[in-house]
Symmetry: C2
Subunit: 190 residues, 2 copies
DNA sequence: TTGACATATCCAACATGTTGAGTATACTTT
DNA sequence: AAAGTATACTCAACATGTTGGATATGTCAA
């Protein structure tokens, strides 16, 4: 039940609508949590039932009504309870690795295309993260205020994203090197 | 539907029972795919319905009967069809990062404990991988046989596991450094 | 004016993953 | 002799994630 706690964590920062929470997931949270709009709305319904959040309907001129959700006292209790529980690493599921595993049985070019495709994705993502990092690092030096502390912890999550993308890129290069090496051997023999 | 293709990929190497497939997931596949015994059995049922695998019941002396599953021609077609489809990176969901995100609102020690816990997990996993790697690298040099090729591709998947654990460990150190730095500041002011 | 895009929410169906229990047999340890 | 571990499969219920659509309004560009 970690999606619920991620939403609680967001609402612990400030009240927000389902729509905007969902946008957070698409944007700055995307490096460690993905959720569709559907999931967010469904989960907010459950959180409301549990009494961990409540909402106020806000009519808007020219736009559909909003529901602004707030974390409740019970929500805070649940969030802190969860915070004391140890978390385990998320199980991994990676199609690409399965493709590599049977790489010897499939046309080499298909695998090469896949790896190149992934290289593009990961380097584009890394570039984005690096831009955010540059912006962060160019700010005035940080103090001890709550806001500055918040920014520092957020930066740590960004660093995780950077480490993740970097490790993928270096692995992609390993794969390409190995495959190129095979090609070379093949040529020297044929 | 990637679990189904992972099972097909395993069966493309050799026929196997559900029980043994499930053990593969716990062992050498664990660095890029996790699945419970339950999932494996359920998925084998679906694969059988689709005609992608079939099985033969094998009575055993002193043990329960086995069902040995084989990939069919249709299964091969499906596996190669899947192989030509581009795969996208798996969406990430990491509780620990959510905890870091609200680190400024929670007792510092809780986060420190979490990070230390993860350091232990990742370094234990890395150690395991390194042992397998050492074993692999100490083998006679590899040729061009199908078996040697298979081993090389498998090594690439191991390398991914090593890169993954390594990147977690270096991130954990970043977090600890940042938190220790905060402690220092706090002390110098108090 | 038509279509694309953004705001804002909700429903239904399905796929996938998790958890716990149930049914057997046989070997090993206490 | 009892308890634990390993083999081997099955059912049920639930949690979580995915996909496609429905409902509404408003802005902007072709």
């Amino acid at each position: 039940m970690a999606l619920s706690h991620t939403i609680l964590a967001l609402l612990s920062k400030q009240p927000d609508s389902g729509y905007d929470i969902s946008k957070h997931f698409d944007e700055e949270l995307s490096c460690y949590w993905k959720a569709t709009q559907q999931q967010v709305y469904r989960e907010l319904g459950k959180l409301t039932k549990n009494g961990w959040v409540n909402f106020e309907a806000v009519p808007q001129a020219g736009k559909p009504d909003k529901k602004i959700y707030c974390i409740t006292e019970g929500g805070w209790r649940e969030l802190t309870r969860w915070y004391t529980e140890p978390t385990e690493p998320t199980p991994i599921r990676e199609d690409l690795l399965v493709k590599v595993l049977i790489g010897h049985k499939m046309p080499r070019q298909l695998l090469v295309n896949e790896v190149k495709h992934r290289q593009q994705i990961h380097s584009a993502q890394l570039k984005e993260y690096r831009e955010i990092e540059t912006e962060y690092l160019s700010r005035d030096s940080l103090g001890n205020s709550d806001r500055d502390l918040e920014a520092q912890f957020k930066y740590l999550t960004l660093k995780r994203g950077i480490a993740y993308e970097t490790s993928w890129l270096s692995w992609c290069e390993d794969v390409m090197a190995m495959v190129n090496n095979l090609e070379g051997e093949g040529k020297s023999k044929g």
